[in-house]
Symmetry: C3
């Protein structure tokens, strides 16, 4: 170990321990403990997001307004012995417990690559791998529902001059108590192996400096059935940019008899002074043991501008945008636009999960590094198949009555489906 032994102390068990004095600082408002030589560091990542949602009254379905704690996070992170890193990260939203990150990482002295083991995000989906602290809009786009997010497994990250390569093998998720129960029950009742996924991502950044960025990326994932799937079935669904609204318009319902899932995504992003843009195109193929394979797709494009002269920082090691640098002592204000789309219909495969467009406008106020306010307006254009598995109104029939049966919707094609606007705010504190 390259830690220099400043002092030797005797611990409570009579063992000699190396004691390295640590300094304490508030770095941009976040507490950090660290050794002079930088080989030991510890910090926290605590977060509260208070979200409120109001839905337009002209929706076909009743949508309930409300407030919620969207996230309540507690995390401790530490680097030690120069090359090692450990993290525990939990979310307590809804007074439940969810393991978020729980892993160890090894980085060699060269810092050209690292190796992770534990529970963390698979390298897939630029938007999904971006921490919720730094999201441009309150909720990620429709198509992020394709992204696997956190799973148990192993991952190697390679840091080239302009090239980031991420490859991992992953297993089940443990971030949801219900899914952990499915895993345990499948093991107990059937003795099934839990399945695996192979996921890779490549990011090329030919231009990457303080004021300009060009980011081109691609990722792919191959996934065998996992035992954390409910009833062994695959399913994609999303709540249309809100965690307050519990109605899931878009939902493929259970897809049973899956042989594997293969998804890929293309990323394009950039910045120019206070302006940034980011977009992804995603396709998700569900390959069946027998019968017709299904295919779904989605994409989004978003752009933002910092009004007070700040600029968007890019995290080269993770291939994503990170915290902004504000343009003034009073923080900064950001105007953001997004168009996103998802298509969970595959008529050949007899899957009518619905498709939808979202038009989003956002205003973000970065008061200081610890405080952020967000206001979003999103207009949804759901199609007539976005019926929450037959439970939601999708249009009017020939008699002008609301119907939940898309085949009875009297509107012209391309019309139909529940279209509505929503206004939302977030008050966020990070420390």
């Amino acid at each position: 170990q390259e830690i220099k032994k400043e002092t030797t102390r005797i611990n409570q068990y009579g063992q000699e321990v190396d004691a390295v004095p640590l300094k304490t600082e508030a770095q941009d408002g976040f507490i950090k403990w660290f050794s002079e030589d930088g080989n030991y560091k510890m910090w926290m990542d605590n977060r509260v997001q208070l979200d409120g949602y109001m839905f337009s009254n002209d929706a076909l379905n009743e949508l309930g307004n409300g407030f919620m704690i969207r996230r309540m996070r507690f995390a401790i992170k530490a680097e030690f012995w120069k090359n090692w890193y450990g993290e525990i990260d939990l979310d307590f939203e809804s007074s439940a417990t969810e393991i978020k990150d729980a892993y160890l990482k090894y980085t060699p002295d060269s810092k050209k690559w690292d190796f992770k083991a534990g529970h963390f995000k698979e390298g897939y989906g630029m938007e999904t791998t971006t921490t919720s602290r730094y999201l441009l809009f309150m909720e990620r786009s429709f198509a992020s529902t394709f992204d696997p997010s956190r799973h148990l497994g192993f991952q190697v990250n390679s840091y080239g001059k302009k090239l980031l390569l991420i490859g991992g093998v992953h297993f089940n998720t443990v971030g949801d108590a219900e899914e952990v129960e499915f895993t345990k029950d499948a093991n107990k009742d059937n003795g099934k192996d839990e399945g695996y996924s192979l996921t890779g991502r490549a990011v090329w950044t030919p231009i990457n400096n303080t004021t300009r960025l060009l980011h081109v990326g691609a990722a792919a994932t191959y996934r065998t059935p996992k035992t954390h799937w409910e009833d062994g079935a695959y399913r994609i669904s999303t709540r249309s940019h809100s965690a307050v609204n519990r109605k899931k318009f878009l939902d493929t319902d259970d897809i049973s008899g899956v042989d594997n899932v293969f998804g890929y995504t293309f990323e394009l992003a950039g910045k120019y002074n206070g302006f940034m843009f980011q977009g992804e195109y995603k396709e998700h193929n569900v390959n069946m043991i027998e019968g017709v394979d299904a295919s779904f797709k989605g994409y989004y494009a978003q752009a933002a501008y910092l009004l007070r002269g700040g600029n968007h920082n890019y995290n080269t090691k993770e291939g994503e945008f990170t915290r902004i640098t504000p343009g003034s002592d009073k923080g900064d204000v950001e105007l953001a636009l997004r168009y996103d789309y998802i298509d969970l219909n595959d008529f050949d495969a007899s899957i009518y999960g619905g498709s939808a467009e979202g038009y989003s406008v956002g205003l973000n106020y970065y008061v200081n590094p610890n405080i952020k306010f967000m206001a979003n307006y999103v207009y949804h254009n759901h199609d007539r198949y976005a019926d929450g598995k037959g439970k939601l109104f999708v249009g009017k029939d020939a008699d002008g009555n609301l119907t939940k049966d898309w085949s009875n919707v009297y509107d012209a094609d391309g019309k139909g489906g529940d279209d509505y606007g929503q206004f939302s705010i977030r008050l966020e504190v990070n420390f």
Copy 2:
């Protein structure tokens, strides 16, 4: 920002960050990190309460003795950029998770008011807003069950010379996983708005110095039906000063068809050297959409004396008693008395929730700022309607047999109901 930039560092993403050195102290046994200028502060609030209860054998109903972890709290609190504050506070009692405080606060330089947003206690009920660390008795009085405690929302506190004003608008609670499920289900199934409450409190302290205090307060709350109510019904119940005993003698049962709830409370408190007293009168009106409105009430009066010369401190900013200052190096001992009463009967509205008196004696030993021992004896006088919704014995019938039907109780009026004593201890550690 008024933080002076002591040092500039480069963070892991290549961003320049302001680094302010922090000092670390144990302040009265609690760890605290802070900057020299006082603009950054961070501290913790951890707590374990081990409670044990023994019930008298002459109760009509079998009451089970036992021990429990009454509270196991973990909290991190921080002030940053001089005017901002954030907090996460969790309880893990019963190996469950409960969000307690989760909010951000803004205080202007004048410090004459502040603004809170998130999940925290509504400004109602002097006893309920007092932290469980500093309670005079192990459990709050009967009538505290009227107080709303923590809900999502926004609150303004105004600090006058002798006047404290608190006003807030609140929504649902997220401090109980079951209630969060009710909220989500109501949204999903019915698309109902979650309801709101308007709550205000005023406290006048004409006398307020180290040795003397006179506190006069009043609060009121107007509440529309909330979606976190089970089955959309309002209900008031209490476990009669014990969390070990799970029998709820006092329970209005579900009150359906509520238009709104309106409650108010009057507070009177004071101190004189080592002596303190505190009392509240509360009335709670449940106004129906149609049919007969119901009204409930309760009150308590308690007094305490510190035997070793210490005195009770008053927190002017929250309008409540806080940690005592012990009279000796060996801590202090406190003798406490309480009478409390609640009436959940409204015969006109056909609600037989029961009424009860409690006679309490308490002995508290403040060993040091981190350690507190409590011993309580409470004698309960429940009336014959305090039958736990027909599940508990409330007296003897004409044949001398135990009956759960109050109309069969042969005792004279004012007698009947299960009357019993309980002895309890608490060992508490705060750090």
Copy 3:
């Protein structure tokens, strides 16, 4: 209090508080805050264990391979006012919450004894009282299922020159949300007292220095029925050295009508330079109110050698092995062997819980004080009664078909039962 008052500060409530400056150090990679006089100390104990299991294909029953977060722990511990100690310790494995340690402790100046109150491990079972951080094998031996582990209660530890004495009275456990519900329901429905246990342990260490140790111990526990038992019944079961495999071959099923449980254990352990050994013999008697009492037993013997010159440290105050001292700057490697056995059959009492042998080989790599890798191979020899309450195959019948009925197993006595090997790895980070 003997803390010297370095500074006096005014806290947020206007109270004078004693402020003692604290130092911060990384001690062997673990952060610690402490006062110069040693009267105040605070530290953390965070842990992630990533486990993966692969089972041999020739098992009679399908066993599912998989990964899991075996433990995700977060703990804060503090000593204050010289004689006092408090701790909160939680596990979030499976995205659930489990209270582990939650207690306060008093140690007099003599340090010859201490007193604990709260939720912590009963003094029984050398292997069970050893923290999971320092276990020799990934999972404790079969017979550890007899050990009570953590319960609410009170305990006195006495530290003699060569004699450690531990005695405690204990009540229910709160470390499992389901068991807490059983406790609450038993109180609510029946008003039952929660039961108690009396547990004592004595350890004699005639030889105990850096390189040599001889440890001889014994413990006993007397237990009345606890209300946290499911359906009021006693039950012993184990998952055969794996938390990934959910099939419980060994299981006594519910034993109803228990008057008390009496268990005892003998411990023998020692070390010689880099070599260590440890073994326990345990017997567990379930005494019935009426009918035939049942008796179960188990034992294990394990030994290990550090290949790079390190040695095993012994924690005299807890009577168990603790963290090793590595023999080189590159950490140390340990080779470990274990034989263990359990017998949950008592044919006289008509209990066919099964018996089993385990043959274990382990390889541990202590990279540094924060990082540990483990690899285990275990071969199980279950008997024909180890049928998971009739749900698992235990052999082949006369026709050569798999059967779950032990009376149909055609093999010779001593054969039969599901025998299989398992290979597992653990990546562990502590900080």
